[in-house]
Amino acid sequence: MELSAVAFYVVAGVTLVAALGVVVARSVVYAALLLILSLVMTGLIYLLLLADFLALIQILVYGGTVSILLLFALMLTPPETRPELNHRGWALGAVTSGALFALLLVASLADKWPAAGAARHISLVDLGRALFSTWAVPFEVASVVLLVALLGALTIARSTSPGSKIARRASA
């Protein structure tokens, strides 16, 4: 077995264990830290798949920004208001996700997929060229989506002035 394959299995195993931890951890902070681990491991998988630029983005965006965002959200919501972690829906969730996994397993293994060819590295130059030529319009649309999301997040999270409709409903 070549080295990259061994590395993949190890990294994938760690990712899965961390993800499992995210969904079952008793503590919210643990869950958040395990999620960061899982996301960084995903970045490693990108690296193994020769997508180095994507790995960089993954670690920057998820490992950095997203984790910090999540931790801030946790800090802004005091611990005493946090509900019990799991509720009675967990059994249904387990059954559903189990069924979905079985289906995906069947789909992945039953069909004959094209044999994996020799992975080829894609240079950052090519990626940049593709993004700004073939994918120029979706790229611009994505930037607009980000802008709208930014403004929307601002508007929604802004503190409500007393007497506004939303504030009245909240106090009611």
Partner: protein
């Protein structure tokens, strides 16, 4: 590198963990975290197909970049909503957010 089926099983497992998380958790922030897991599973799958099955094709990576972009936007909005809900109802339990119920 490993066969594509193995990667698919791996991403499938990751996705299903995300599904479980969404369904089982009560804390809204944890629900958002589970959604991040699902998005990641999909992005890995895209990159794997792009690199291994169609070597040299760039589309898989481009898609993954878009997924990351959308995920960032989604998380930003989601957390904003959580904060707003918390301020209105002093709770981030998703079961309490049931104004649109019958």
């Amino acid at each position: 590198m490993v066969p594509i089926e193995h990667i698919m099983v791996f991403t499938g497992a990751l996705f299903c963990l995300g599904v479980y998380g969404v369904m089982a958790r009560r804390n809204a922030v944890l629900v958002l975290m589970a959604i991040e897991l699902m998005l990641n599973a999909v992005a890995i799958n895209l990159v794997a197909f792009g690199t291994l099955v169609y070597p040299g094709q760039i589309n898989g990576m481009v898609f993954a970049i878009f997924v990351v972009t959308i995920a960032a936007a989604e998380l930003g909005l989601g957390l904003a909503i959580v904060l707003r809900v918390y301020r209105m109802r002093s709770s981030i339990n998703v079961d309490d957010i049931d104004l649109m119920r019958w």
